[in-house]
Symmetry: none
Amino acid sequence: MTLNDARRIIAAAEVKSHAIGQPMNIAVADAGGNLVSHVRMDGAWIGSIDISIKKAYTSRAFDIATKDLATHSQSGGQFFGINTSNDGRIMIFAGGIPLRKDGKVVGAIGVSGGSGEQDHAVAEAGAAAY
Amino acid sequence: MTLNDARRIIAAAEVKSHAIGQPMNIAVADAGGNLVSHVRMDGAWIGSIDISIKKAYTSRAFDIATKDLATHSQSGGQFFGINTSNDGRIMIFAGGIPLRKDGKVVGAIGVSGGSGEQDHAVAEAGAAAY
Amino acid sequence: MTLNDARRIIAAAEVKSHAIGQPMNIAVADAGGNLVSHVRMDGAWIGSIDISIKKAYTSRAFDIATKDLATHSQSGGQFFGINTSNDGRIMIFAGGIPLRKDGKVVGAIGVSGGSGEQDHAVAEAGAAAY
Amino acid sequence: MTLNDARRIIAAAEVKSHAIGQPMNIAVADAGGNLVSHVRMDGAWIGSIDISIKKAYTSRAFDIATKDLATHSQSGGQFFGINTSNDGRIMIFAGGIPLRKDGKVVGAIGVSGGSGEQDHAVAEAGAAAY
């Protein structure tokens, strides 16, 4: 996952974000879960800086969309409580998606700034550009 | 709980993990709840490193399988919220099992990398080798 | 501090980084000390992701270059120990510079990835573009 | 960095540790700085579990032996204060060494349990086996 890759992914996510009229924080992590790049679009929530970075980490940490992890992490679910692991870096709501190359997870995108549905849609647009 | 004990436990857990085809993080803690050894099998989730170690800690901290602690820690349960105690070291889902010697808890195994059912099964295989 | 501003600042810093042949992490914060954008250039240290973001925060938090804060934060200095304040977000070595508009601090740049001298030089190049 | 690689590295470090008569904690991290395996030899300090893991992380995070990072991180040095970055995961004393393959850093070993000199010597023995 190069910086150029990350920029292409972020650019595509920004296009989608503009299209739906909701400014976002967008982050891309590499295979080790470490941040490659982050942008906060003008007007996006400052509380979502951290969330976007952590959604990217989470999606790589468990090779899963955070939207799907969410379904297993509710009270009664098999992963309920997982969000207190990893020193608070785990986010269990929509907006993070793993990035695959030749079937292998090599990074992830994390988006935060709108509803869960909006975050996931913008993340998908970014992921599609990879 | 010697390092040799931990290695024997981990080896048995690895055999089970291979058998079910799901790579795992496996950790063994001693009577003090402190880590004796950890392995991340090739391809296992990086987010599960921390979780396996904390499941082992949790099982020793309360002398209980995390699978059983889970039933009391859901929303509405008597221990709901316990996973924010101990500086975030408590995991409340399946995969941790106390290790006993002459009826006394002397350590624990923690497994993370698959479904709750898989994690518990691999932990049981490890515990059986002690 | 718009995202476009941050991108222009980062681009200038990248040019300098390439010129000296040392890949860097570069972060820009706004008037609230909150991250606007971050890039990790290919090959830059992963440990410097966090440091670049925190240098930007620090420079805005105290309206000072971290290089100058450093001189007061050594053992025996009047601010010795300041780096354990702000929940560990304070960095006390070179690479952070406040960004001014009409004499007022409106943000900061933080750079990490080389020697203190290199980090500061790259931060200066970025600041000059604002 | 496979688990087999990590085990070979740890085994070599253990041999050295036995030879000098000082039990150690030994950890190996991958290219992302994430733990692959850890062992605490019988009788080794429990406070060194965390330190060994963090020395491995640090050596990968900055592609440097922690022994060398130490020289720049003393009061007055260019990196003084670096150990409060990365959420407390940075160790600035001897015992961590980067692991290289074809000239590129692909992981690191971290050793803790004795004097700085002993820790570094055991880490070197481990690194030599890679």
